[in-house]
Symmetry: C2
Subunit: 146 residues, 2 copies
C-alpha cells in the first residue's frame, strides 16, 4: 500500500503534465483551422464575385480579408503539431511549406493592393494565381477530411 | 397540337426566366454564409486568444478581419432571399435586423482600433460585448442547422 501512494502521486503528476500539453495541441490545430477556413470562405466569396454571381461592391474588403488571413497562416503552422488536415510533410518539408505560405501571404497582400489601385479586372488575374497556389500547396500538404 | 406549341414555348420562356433567379438566390445565400462563417471562424480564433490558449501575436489582425467581415454583412443580407439559416424575420423586421448588423460592424471596427491603440486587455472587454451582440441577434434571426 505504501508503495502505491508514490505511484499514484507520480501518475497524477504525469497526468497534470500531460493534460495541458494535449489541450494545447488541440488549441494549435483549432486555431490554424480557423485561419484556413477563413481563407476558404473568403476565397469562395471572391469566386462568386469573380464569376459575376454577386455584386463586386465589397471586392476590396474581401481581398483584404484574404490577405490578412494569409498573413496569420505561416505563424499558426509553426508549432509542430500534426493533426487536423495537415500532412506530416508540413513539418518534414518545413522550408518548402513555409516558403509557400509566406509567398501566398505576399501574393494576397499584393492582390489586395491591385484590387484597390487597379480595380476588378486586374484583381481577377491575381485571383487565378492564388487559386493555383492554394491547389499546389493543398495537393502536397493537405489530406482533406470531408 | 397547334395550341400546345405556344404553351410549350411559353413554358420554356418561363423556365428560362425562373432558372437564373433560382441560381441567383442560391448565390445570395452562399455569399452571406461565407461572410457569417468568416465571422464565426475569426470569433473562434479571438476566443482562443482571449482564453490564452494560443499566443496573442496576431490579435490586431484577427480583430481587423472580424471588423472587415462585419462590414460586409449588412449589404449581403439586403436581398430578400430567405434560406440557409436566416429566419424570415430578418426581412420582416428589417429595420431592427439591419440596425443590429450596422451596430455590430461599428463595434467591431471600434474594437479593432482599441486593440491597435490600447492592446489586448482593452480589446478583450470589447470582445465580450461582441459576443453578446452575436448571441442576441442569432437568438432572434437565426435557425441553426447542424
Amino acid at each position: 500500500m505504501m508503495k502505491r501512494i508514490p505511484l499514484l502521486i507520480c501518475s497524477f503528476a504525469l497526468l497534470a503534465l500531460a493534460l495541458p500539453v494535449l489541450a494545447a495541441d488541440q488549441d494549435v490545430i483549432q486555431f490554424r483551422e480557423a485561419i484556413m477556413k477563413t481563407l476558404n470562405e473568403q476565397s469562395a466569396a471572391l469566386g462568386q464575385i469573380a464569376s459575376g454571381a454577386v455584386p463586386d461592391d465589397s471586392l476590396v474588403t474581401h481581398m483584404d480579408e484574404l490577405a490578412l488571413a494569409a498573413s496569420t497562416a505561416p505563424q499558426a503552422f509553426k508549432p509542430k503539431v500534426p493533426g487536423g488536415e495537415a500532412k506530416p510533410e508540413v513539418w518534414s518539408n518545413w522550408a518548402d511549406f513555409s516558403k509557400r505560405m509566406s509567398d501566398f501571404a505576399q501574393q494576397t497582400a499584393a492582390g489586395a493592393k491591385i484590387a484597390k489601385d487597379q480595380g476588378k479586372d486586374a484583381a481577377m488575374v491575381q485571383l487565378i494565381n492564388f487559386a493555383d497556389s492554394c491547389k499546389g500547396c493543398h495537393d502536397m500538404y493537405r489530406m482533406e477530411k470531408k
